[in-house]
């Protein structure tokens, strides 16, 4: 309805739904605004509709209902070759019959540039992805990581308004993937183009994005900055999809100016500050969530915390830099995980013993 794009919005997704025959990929009507120049991620498990949404932005599919606007212009019915977007495909889609130069310059043909200008821009794009000098190589002779860079260069050379990336790192091995995450982030800052990334890897989304839309079953569950998604997830599902979180059954007992009063199993009565309670948390029976690093083990008498309780150590997992303790809190059936950094002089406790566990108001969020 409101067709005036807010300042800085580049992609406006409004009430978009998509059905393939009888199958609804996006059913509830998705609304989202992607800001100019940001690194935006669509994060979710496979089948959540994130790729479908990306393909609709690219123009490879059209929404069944709703509208997508880019730069305020309605894009329904505009084919991919007339949109100011370019895409890096999951399979990279490098043309096997063309060499590296011909692949990267593929889209430049349309712009009717002189030969020298085409060569200059291709060289520039290849330099950007650290592939200078590979122009004459056959594309099928390139490795996975190199093909991915070719695909990036091929899209960036056209200077699109928006670059779309469909799981671009999923085919790479772990080390290369982590390196490319950082490189992609730097590249995005350097060129200043809006990036929209689709991924199922939460750590990838967290490390690279300015904002992340978490999607489940064809719907955006939460759209926030990585920090807010991690620290203030609005539902159990988002909380457990991004990182690890301990859940405790809780019942709301009242509300004050300071926050929501709740009786939390294992943690006791607490006042949870307002900003740690999402709007849609209503009713008496709710869930309290605490990240493993938001609790701490109090190793000796001198250490104190806002709140504390004695717990039994059920299991200890040693990771080198970190130790993960599985604790049995009184009045709580489920085990609670607490992570501790193994700093100098800090002991690693054995299972079977007991230890004081501490936390504060800041540690706890309420979830729907």
């Amino acid at each position: 309805m409101s067709s005036t794009p807010s300042a800085g919005t580049i992609i406006d997704i409004e009430r978009v739904e998509k059905r393939f025959g009888q199958v609804a990929a996006l059913k509830k009507g998705i609304d989202a605004r992607i800001r100019e120049g940001e690194f935006f991620s669509l994060l979710g498990p496979s089948g959540c509709g994130k790729t479908t949404l990306l393909r609709m932005i690219a123009g490879l599919d059209d929404p069944t209902v709703g509208e997508i606007r880019i730069d305020g212009k309605p894009m329904n019915g505009v084919p991919a070759n007339h949109r100011p977007t370019n895409m890096v495909f999951q399979s990279y889609a490098i043309f096997p019959h063309l060499n590296v130069f011909e692949n990267v310059s593929y889209g430049l043909r349309k712009q009717r540039l002189v030969k020298a200008e085409v060569e200059r821009r291709v060289a520039e794009a290849l330099a950007m992805v650290s592939l200078s000098g590979y122009e004459k190589r056959a594309s099928h002779a390139m490795s996975g990581g190199q093909r991915q860079r070719i695909a990036l260069a091929r899209a960036l050379v056209l200077r699109p308004r928006v670059l779309l990336l469909d799981e671009p790192l999923s085919a790479l091995d772990k080390q290369l993937r982590e390196q490319m995450q950082i490189e992609l982030r730097h590249l995005q800052r350097e060129v200043g183009i809006t990036f929209v990334l689709v991924t199922h890897d939460q750590s990838e989304a967290l490390t690279m994005s300015d904002r992340i839309a978490v999607m489940f079953e064809g719907n955006i569950a939460q759209l926030d900055s990585p920090e807010m998604l991690y620290r203030r997830p609005i539902s159990k599902r988002v909380a457990s999809f991004i990182g690890v979180m301990n859940f405790f059954p809780a019942s709301v007992t009242g509300e004050s100016a300071k926050g929501v009063e709740a009786e939390i199993a294992g943690l006791g009565p607490m006042t949870v500050p307002k900003q740690q309670v999402p709007k849609d948390v209503t009713g008496r029976e709710v869930t309290a969530g605490v990240r493993p690093e938001m609790m701490t083990l109090l190793f000796d008498e001198t250490e104190t915390a806002e709140r504390e309780v004695m717990a039994e150590i059920d299991d200890v997992v040693y990771y080198g830099d970190m130790s993960y303790y599985s604790l049995r809190l009184p009045g709580c059936e489920e085990l609670t995980t607490v992570s501790m950094r193994n700093t100098a002089g800090r002991p690693i406790l054995k299972e079977g013993g007991s230890v004081r566990v501490g936390w504060g108001q800041e540690s706890v969020v309420l979830l729907s």
């Binding site: 123009g59 490879l60 070759n81 889609a93 043309f95 019959h97 063309l98 889209g107 899209a155």
Partner: protein, 304 residues
């Protein structure tokens, strides 16, 4: 003592026994039935033809002294040259026509048929369920002086006299062969279209290509191995086809195979027939090699 073989022998024998167990050897063993069959049924007769082509016919026997006379005649007599060139021309036109007509069919089945693709492919092969001879005869019925086509056009008032250019000449041969070989062209093109990663087409579109540019810049180059295979599959056998020109070609549609058959039959000059057959074989082989060589650009790059 007797168990110890002479020096040097155990090594060789051991090696051979070892080789017998190797993968290479089992490969040869698996090949041998087909290889034997090809040797007896293909290589041996071909060798016979080669030998005969250097002999001279003497009534019902051969003069077995070596001579190049047959080749001399085959390559200098204008009648053979005309027939050879005509065969190549007809085959060339048949090949181009067949491939151009087959491509859209293969394209349609590959890109636009969503369900039951194997069924469509099966339907394409239906003409093959009947004999080649019958199909050629059917074209006679369709194209003949009082055939389906002519009487239909006369009934419609489009023509007054039956069309004569469609029967008993080279055109008829082209029409008949192009139809007969269509499935052989459709299948390889279909296979190569099926192998094209669909995301390449999306990438081309995303990079700014409209449907037509995309076809010529991505689809067609990637389908070239199929197109070349189709061309060879149609071209090689049609040059030597003898049934179709005999039945529907008239005099102006006769091809090289007809004259070869004549030499082995009525003319009773097997050595000349053999020389003609081998000459035709060499020419077809040379042209095929040329086609493959000139298209290696398309086939080589895709070896992933």
């Amino acid at each position: 003592m007797s168990a110890v073989p002479a020096e040097g022998k155990p090594l060789l024998g051991g090696r051979f026994r070892f080789w017998l167990k190797s993968e290479e050897a089992s490969g040869f063993k698996l090949l041998s039935p087909a290889f034997l069959y090809a040797l007896v049924m293909l290589a041996a007769p071909l060798a016979m033809v080669v030998v005969i082509s250097f002999w001279t016919q003497e009534l019902i026997d051969f003069d077995r002294s070596f001579t190049l006379k047959n080749y001399e005649e085959a390559w200098t007599d204008p009648i053979y040259r005309v027939l050879m060139l005509r065969s190549l021309a007809i085959s060339g036109i048949v090949t181009v026509t067949t491939v151009i007509l087959a491509f859209p069919i293969a394209y349609f089945v590959s890109f636009h048929v969503k369900h039951h693709k194997p069924l469509w492919i099966l339907l394409i092969t239906i003409p093959f369920w009947t004999s080649y001879l019958l199909r050629v005869f059917l074209w006679k019925v369709i194209l003949g002086y009082n055939g389906v086509l002519n009487s239909g056009l006369i009934e419609l008032g489009l023509i007054e006299e039956p069309l004569t250019f469609i029967l008993y000449n080279a055109t008829t041969v082209v029409i008949t062969l192009a139809h007969a070989w269509a499935p052989f062209a459709i299948l390889p093109i279909f296979v190569s279209l099926e192998k094209i990663d669909r995301s390449l087409l999306e990438a081309a579109e995303d990079l700014g290509d409209g449907p037509i540019q995309r076809f010529f810049r991505v689809t067609l180059p990637l389908a070239m191995p199929g197109v070349i295979a189709a061309s060879l599959i149609v071209f090689i056998p049609t040059v030597g086809d003898y049934v179709t020109p005999r039945l529907v070609g008239g005099n102006s549609g006769l091809m090289i195979a007809n004259i070869i058959q004549l030499q082995f039959g009525q003319a009773s000059n097997a050595p000349l027939g053999a020389a003609l057959a081998l000459s035709a074989m060499v020419i077809v082989a040379a042209i095929s090699v040329l086609i493959v060589w000139s298209s290696r650009r398309f086939t080589k790059r895709q070896a992933r």
